[in-house]
């Protein structure tokens, strides 16, 4: 077996969809002598995870993609019949209002979450409001997730909580896009933790309901990676996108 084929089977062994031999050749380091095989596989893997899946040279055709008519909202439920590699184009936290996210980003921009200059906004309710089990407050359990004003104490990116629900835009290698909704919480998915351009494998059996992929840790393997340029644009444009979306919502309501 020649080197590219060995690399290909190495990648496959790690659960990655196998790239084309031609692409592997372009992704191999241009050094003489070449580093040992495990290092080569690691290098090509990193390049694969940083690549754009829609690059036609990446896979031997036909590459696994979303089934035809996948985005049809008339279809109540279908299960994927083969594994599909996808990449993340966008992530939204549906548990928080857009305005709350705008306020958070603005607070960070004003330096209000820099250590020593934090502005801590307390909830207006009374902490001792409820009967407490064995003297411990049950408030957080009752009030559900994310009471506004309590996050962002830690500094940089606001962490997603256990009960957050995110919606992703996922793209297959043909460039088709679908929404992916967190049906069960996947810890890696969160604004600030999940990268744009990150690669997933949607496994056979994953549910597609009304044109939306339902994500579950059992049927969704996160491979990692990111596309640096997309990530940068996404982070820089986030505040503007949120603001525009809020404005658009406001116009719809009128």
């Amino acid at each position: 077996m020649d080197l590219p084929a060995q690399i290909r089977s190495g990648l496959q062994g790690q659960g990655l969809p196998p790239p084309s031999i031609a692409w592997i050749k372009t992704a191999m380091p241009n050094r003489n002598p070449l580093p040992p095989l495990p290092a080569l596989i690691a290098t090509v893997k990193t390049r694969f995870l940083a690549a754009d899946l829609t690059n036609p040279a990446l896979f031997d055709s036909p590459a696994p993609a979303f089934p035809p008519n996948a985005s049809n909202p008339e279809v109540r439920e279908v299960k994927l019949t083969w594994d599909i590699p996808v990449q993340v184009l966008d992530i939204e936290n549906l548990s928080k209002s857009k305005w709350e996210q705008v306020e958070e980003l603005e607070a960070i921009a004003r330096g209000e979450q820099t250590r020593g200059r934090e502005i801590i906004r307390l909830p207006t309710g009374d902490e001792e409001d409820e009967f407490a089990v064995d003297g411990q407050a049950t408030q957080s359990a009752i009030n559900g997730p994310e009471r506004p004003g309590l996050q962002g104490k830690g500094g940089s990116a606001p962490a997603a909580t256990r009960s957050s629900t995110h919606r992703l835009v996922l793209q297959d290698c043909k460039g088709q896009r679908l929404y992916g909704l967190e049906l069960k919480r996947i810890d890696r998915i969160g604004i600030g933790t999940l990268n744009i351009g990150e690669k997933f494998i949607l496994k056979r059996g994953a549910i597609l309901a009304r044109g939306m992929l339902l994500l579950d840790p059992a049927t969704c393997t996160i491979l990692g990676g990111k596309v640096e340029a997309w990530q940068k644009d996404w982070v820089e444009g986030r505040l503007t996108r949120l603001r525009e979306a809020v404005e658009a919502d406001g116009r719809d309501a009128c």
């Binding site: 549906l94 001792e128 559900g144 009304r210």
Partner: protein, 487 residues
């Protein structure tokens, strides 16, 4: 021996004179119309012994700090010069009659006894009184009475255990006054002069700066912008309600709500497809609602604005009045723990004659009394706000009735027991979605009987009706049909 006693305000002078003299007192007018001098005999015990006493008062601070006239012009010197300009402390123009009275009375006295309130400002006012008295008499023996209410036994006790002024507190206030003056002058001048050049509405505007009002203004402005800029956004959720034995049990969605309609519809459809929900957890646990902490000033103001329809300021004025009449302890305190040496049972006993809460107080006296919770704050000057004697409703005005009732009920609640109940938590899974219900049955109301000021917006009657959400452990694992689910 002749002793001059000076209180912070006329009402305290009158009350203390009344207690010390036992009623045998001569009253003299002074040039200041609000201030009387009370003359009587009193035995302070050692070392002063039997004394001829003159009791009078000031009207708050006697002196004021100011810059010399050449610094008072708006255009010169520039604001930063005010930080090292000289500051003169002089008797305030409207307090000269008060200061003269003290100076004159000091001439006849051998000793001076300060009866100002026992807080930082009071300590500084005490020092101002010393200075005024020393102008008349440099050889005075000076003492200070330490008291936190004007109940008779407490006042007599204070008079027999005199202490000295705390100069650290005096200096703290003096520094605060000087900082307020320098910073206030400098920033007011800076803001006003800088903004006047903008013309228009700023032309004749005075923009004053204060080290408290400025940050407070910041909070108000911040809040204003948050409210003004707020953009409402629609959100969707799934409600599950189960009817059982005529009770509607509401289950809360674990996701709470989502800001996207399509996502919720899809999840909702999957619930409906599942048809039945499954109970995955039922847990019953004993639970408590803690009795409140002993009362501080801030808490009194908060509660008054929430439940008594009074502003914080009205509440404090009313509380001052009740303190001046000897019904409650000093209302300016940060302490939320009672000294273990205090005889709280005796104070509870005094409330047994009330028609409204007498029975509750009697139950405490008869054995249900419990030591109050200990908070974390102690200002080392005053105990938490508590009733001193029983005040019949007929001697109080409407505002005083409200505050007095609140102080007493809070105090009795502190001396009572935590409320006890049983909490039930139920988790269900409906399709792939999780829901949760929480309910409490109150078994013993205890302190809640007397403490009608509940934090859940005044509807304390709700505590009686908190039977919602009861379920039995035998339900666990059974299939539970949801009667209604809606988005």
């Amino acid at each position: 021996m002749r002793v001059l006693c000076v209180a912070e305000k006329p009402s305290i002078a009158k009350a203390v004179a009344g207690h010390l003299s036992g009623g045998d007192v001569q009253t003299h007018n002074t040039p200041e119309k609000y201030i009387k001098n009370y003359v009587f005999d009193y035995d302070f015990g050692r070392p002063w012994g039997k004394c001829k006493v003159t009791m009078t008062s000031v009207l708050g601070h006697l002196t004021t700090a100011e810059f010399p006239p050449e610094y008072k012009k708006w255009d010169y010197p520039p604001p930063d010069h005010l930080f090292d300009a000289p500051v003169n402390v002089v008797v305030a123009a409207d307090k000269t009659k008060v200061a003269d009275n003290i100076e004159k009375q000091a001439r006849y006295a051998n000793a001076l006894c300060i009866w100002t309130d026992c807080d930082r400002e009071g300590e500084h006012i005490g020092y101002e009184i010393c200075e005024a008295a020393r102008k008349g008499n440099r050889t005075l023996d000076i003492k200070r009475a330490k008291f936190s209410n004007i109940e008779r036994a407490h006042i007599i006790n204070a008079s027999k255990n005199l202490i000295t002024l705390d100069h650290k507190q005096v200096n703290a206030v003096a520094s605060r006054i000087e900082l307020d003056l320098r910073i206030g002058y400098a920033f007011t001048r800076f803001l006003t002069n800088s903004l006047r050049t903008l013309g228009g509405p700023f032309q004749n505007l005075l923009l004053s700066y204060g080290s408290c009002q400025f940050p407070t203004l910041g909070f108000v402005v911040d809040r204003y912008f948050r409210v003004r800029n707020f953009k409402p956004e629609p959100f969707w959720g799934i409600k599950v309600m189960h009817k059982r034995e005529g009770i509607d049990v509401n289950f809360n969605w674990a996701r709470h709500r989502l800001f996207d309609r399509a996502a919720v519809i899809i999840l909702y459809e999957r619930c409906l497809t599942a048809k039945t929900a499954k109970v995955t957890k039922v847990q019953e646990k004993p639970t408590k609602k803690w009795k409140p902490l002993p009362l501080t000033t801030v808490e009194l103001q908060k509660m008054a604005t929430r439940f008594l329809r009074m502003t914080g300021q009205q509440a404090m004025e009313t509380a001052e009045g009740l303190y001046n009449k000897g019904f409650i302890s000093y209302p300016r305190t940060e302490t939320d723990r009672f000294d273990p040496g205090m005889n709280l049972r005796a104070l509870v006993q005094k409330q047994t004659q009330s028609h409204a809460w007498g029975e509750f107080a009697q139950n405490l006296v008869d054995g249900r009394f419990q030591q109050p919770r200990q908070g974390r704050n102690d200002d080392k000057a005053h105990p938490p706000i508590h009733p001193i004697t029983f005040a019949a409703p007929s001697v109080l005005n409407e505002q005083e009735k409200k505050i007095y009732e609140f102080v007493v009920r809070r105090f009795l609640a502190c001396c009572s027991e935590d409320a006890k109940g049983v909490a039930t938590d139920i988790d269900i899974t409906y399709g792939e979605e999780s829901f949760h219900a929480h309910g409490v049955v109150v078994l013993e109301r205890n302190y809640l009987e007397v403490y009608v000021f509940d934090s859940s917006h005044g509807c304390q009657r709700d505590w009686n009706r908190r039977h919602y959400g009861r379920a039995h452990p035998k339900d666990s694992g059974k299939r539970l049909r949801s009667d209604r689910a809606q988005n």
